[in-house]
Symmetry: C2
Subunit: 168 residues, 2 copies
């Protein structure tokens, strides 16, 4: 079992670190991908190590995709390879868990049309414009897709993500 987190500078620190530590607690290998390999920094100053670049990611290698929020998704959504990775996960029905602004990458990839989902309050208008059925809940599960709104939703977000992995 292997998970992929895609993020970049100015990520929301807990939205990356809580899933990262939670998956490792369960013995799941986790790769972190960004534009380049090497360290990058969260809004609160935590640094994490991207052990792979987006260019080097082989989506087939992974069972779960995590998209944390913060300001990172504004940059990630402009990366063609990030969109391709997200599309691969949807086409193969593998779990994708996006929290807060993380859903922006899925919006740009055109993956939310007709899907039940949630996101950070400021992202709601573009989520609706993308054709998603927005719900104001701590976690929304629709098939392979798990979404949450904000850091305080992390317990529900990880509960549903871990449940989805068990049922794979």
């Amino acid at each position: 079992m292997k998970a992929l987190i895609i993020s970049a500078d100015s990520f929301e620190d807990t939205e990356l670190l809580v899933p990262y530590y939670r998956l490792k607690e369960a013995g799941i290998a986790v790769d972190i991908a960004s534009m380049q390999k090497g360290t990058f920094k969260g809004k609160r100053g935590y640094t994490v190590e991207a052990n792979t670049s987006l260019a080097d990611v082989r989506p087939n290698d992974y069972d779960l995709l995590i998209l944390p929020g913060g300001k990172a998704p504004a940059v990630i959504r402009k990366e063609q390879k990030a969109l391709e990775i997200a599309k691969h996960f949807f086409q193969t029905f593998k779990p994708v868990a996006a929290i807060c602004h993380g859903a922006q990458t899925l919006i740009t990839a055109g993956l939310l049309k007709g899907r039940h989902a949630t996101c950070y309050t400021s992202v709601v208008p573009e989520m609706k414009d993308a054709g998603a059925i927005y719900e104001d809940k701590e976690v929304v599960v629709d098939g392979n897709l798990i979404t949450s709104r904000q850091p305080s939703d992390l317990p529900a977000f990880m509960r549903e993500t871990m449940k989805k992995l068990k049922n794979q």
Copy 2:
């Protein structure tokens, strides 16, 4: 099942938030106690809400005590009630999980004599002086006591803490 986290200003943010969210994920109620009720702030700027004061804590109500690190334990260890709570947990063999500087409260309470434990590198000398058998490992479990060194140990720390709760 109910857990108690004791902390104060300048806590190490992830060492409080990761256990807090992890316990809530598992459906465990969590109280946060500090000198006063109300919000306090981590080193990285996250704020959390102490929903109870140390004075109001009834140790019998809880099944698990979490002691996060950062600079908070330097203050917490001076609080007589915090020491009494820690002693209650040891006397009743209920799990106590301390990470990083969190062990300082247990040192002051005189609870580590002859116990296998670990802590943040700068705390090692006083942990040894307190009679503990120090081990440089990501997590050390000795009876009711679970200790870890630093934030990167959080996956092992929570794995052992959750295991201990299941076996209660």
